[in-house]
């Protein structure tokens, strides 16, 4: 019974494919199966996008002691529908001096790459849409294309605010891509594979029946997860790292000259990027679709995945409601002076954990390595002694 619930979507797909599976040639079945996967992915994540966009406003409203959207439908739940219609019927304005083709292609490219990255994440038992041996590498390869799309948006708009926003976005994306990828390395090293399914598989066992072997429960894993999460915040341009679109400084950054549905596409790409990076975080550190306790494995695997995903998304919203925006130079300093050394430390700590036997001893040793580096860095980077009036390089 539990098994049939777990595999219900796999069965559904087989049932849908059954009319053609006996007669059609192989490639047609493959194409049909891929199309089904894509349709399912788009369906699920666009619904999640709609839901999260209203939930975010509700939660932010709660945190700021106001109601949030509550006019459309019960509890304002139909707000995304109203927003979508509004976006669709808005006038699409293209600046006269804009580079028309590049201006048009930028939102297309940014949405396409965001959705592609979703394809390699295992959503449940046997539920990886596209099984690629180097799945993790695929995720980052596709993600690195976003920078070009952001640049296209900034340059194609032919607007100073757009260009400045794009420059800021690319600068922070490139800086944080490094810690993001390096924090993934320890997991890849310990599992010995770039395949997301194998990474989830490596976290499937339990100690004493109730302590899951998720990587987040090791010192290096916990550190790597926090660094990964912060880098993910930056990569998806979320508060407190939303300088590329800081409204008070540069209007909306690279999205300034976009209106109507193109703007909505950027918005969607940002959220889908957030889902993708959180999904990868769940896969790498939080045990993927495995239950936190062994006797709860009867609950379908995809449910666990989406529960964990929702928790991470809630933390994103929580941070947005809590933290003010950081300055550009603070973001950069943080990336190069703190994030990068800590990310390298995670790699070393994981190696120490592996060679001291992956048990309690390894746990303590790797904790020691991380603690030493963390304390040293905090002493070295202590800015309290250097408080002075801020100096400006390019302004009076």
């Amino acid at each position: 019974m539990a098994d049939s619930f777990d595999q219900i979507f796999i069965r559904a797909k087989q049932w849908l494919l059954s009319p053609i599976s006996c007669r059609a040639p192989d490639w047609l079945i493959q194409v049909a199966s891929s199309l089904l996967n894509i349709a399912a992915l788009l369906g699920v994540f666009l619904t999640l996008f709609a839901l999260i966009s209203v939930l975010e406003r509700k939660i932010l409203g709660r945190m700021q002691n106001r109601y949030g959207p509550n006019r459309v439908g019960p509890f304002g739940l139909f707000q995304p529908v109203a927003d979508g219609i509004k976006m669709l019927i808005k006038e699409d304005i293209v600046p006269a001096r804009a580079d028309k083709i590049v201006h048009f292609l930028a939102p297309v490219l940014i949405a396409a790459t965001a959705i592609l990255a979703l394809g390699v994440i295992p959503y449940g038992r046997n539920m990886t849409p596209f099984i690629i041996d180097g799945g993790i590498l695929f995720f980052f390869a596709v993600g690195s294309t976003t920078e070009l799309a952001v640049f296209m948006a900034g340059w194609g708009s032919n607007n100073k605010f757009s260009m400045l926003g794009a420059m800021r976005a690319i600068a922070q994306m490139i800086s944080y891509e490094l810690p993001l990828i390096i924090t993934v390395l320890p997991v890849v090293m310990i599992v010995g594979s770039l395949n997301p399914d194998k990474i989830v598989g490596a976290q499937s066992t339990y100690s004493l029946g109730f302590v899951p072997h998720w990587f987040v429960f090791t010192p290096w894993g916990a550190t790597a997860f926090i660094l990964f999460f912060v880098s993910g915040l930056v990569e998806s341009n979320r508060t407190p790292f939303d300088v590329p679109e800081g409204e008070s400084e540069i209007v909306a950054g690279h999205m300034t000259e976009y209106s109507g549905f193109k703007y909505a596409t950027f918005f969607m790409a940002e959220y889908i990027g957030m889902f993708a990076i959180s999904g990868l975080g769940v896969t790498l550190f939080l045990g993927g679709w495995h239950a936190p306790v062994h006797f709860l494995e009867f609950i379908p695997s995809y449910a666990w995945f989406f529960v964990k995903l929702s928790i991470l998304l809630f933390i994103y919203i929580w941070l947005r409601g809590t933290l003010p925006r950081t300055r550009v130079d603070q973001i950069m300093n943080f990336a190069w002076k703190f994030m990068l050394p800590m990310a390298f430390t995670c790699v070393i700590a994981a190696a120490v954990w592996h060679y001291t036997g992956r048990g309690l001893r390894g746990w303590l040793w790797s904790l020691g390595v991380i603690a030493v580096v963390y304390v040293t860095l905090s002493i070295l980077l202590d800015t309290r002694r250097k408080f002075a009036p801020r100096t400006y390089r390019f302004a009076e």
Binding site: D99, I132, D133, G134, L137, A141, F151, W155, I170, G192
Partner: protein, 160 residues
Amino acid sequence: MSTVAFAGIAILTLAAALAAATLQKLMHAALSFAVMFVGISAFFFFLGAEFVGLVQIFVYIGAVAVLIVFTILLTRHDVGKVRGFNWSGVFVAVAVFGGLVWTISKTKSLSIVPQQIKPVTVQRIGELLMTNYVWPLQCVGVLLTAALIGALILVMEEKS
């Protein structure tokens, strides 16, 4: 089916390469260059060299294309201007193509039956890099670190 896929990828790659060479606006040329990189990585996927294909996207689109685009942005003031036709470029292209054709035609054709090789998985590449090719890998690492430090020294603020 595979022939159709091959033809599709080939047409995309060649069209993008042609566009990169002939488009009037420099930025458009740079962006079609990026499309050509996608085509080449699709070829790698097509040949089963997954890792190389992914690295192609990662390095060439994520880094090299962004670098090219930034170089254009930061160094040229006439980005929007339309350029004339560049005959020396044609000469260089024809010379390189001729050279390649000549070399390929001189090379003895390989035996038709392919050797049986193990599929080039990410794991195997990793093993080889960590065993047989560990010294070259370390040397590349040192070189890149030196380049990074050099770049940092170049942009370092001068304290007055």
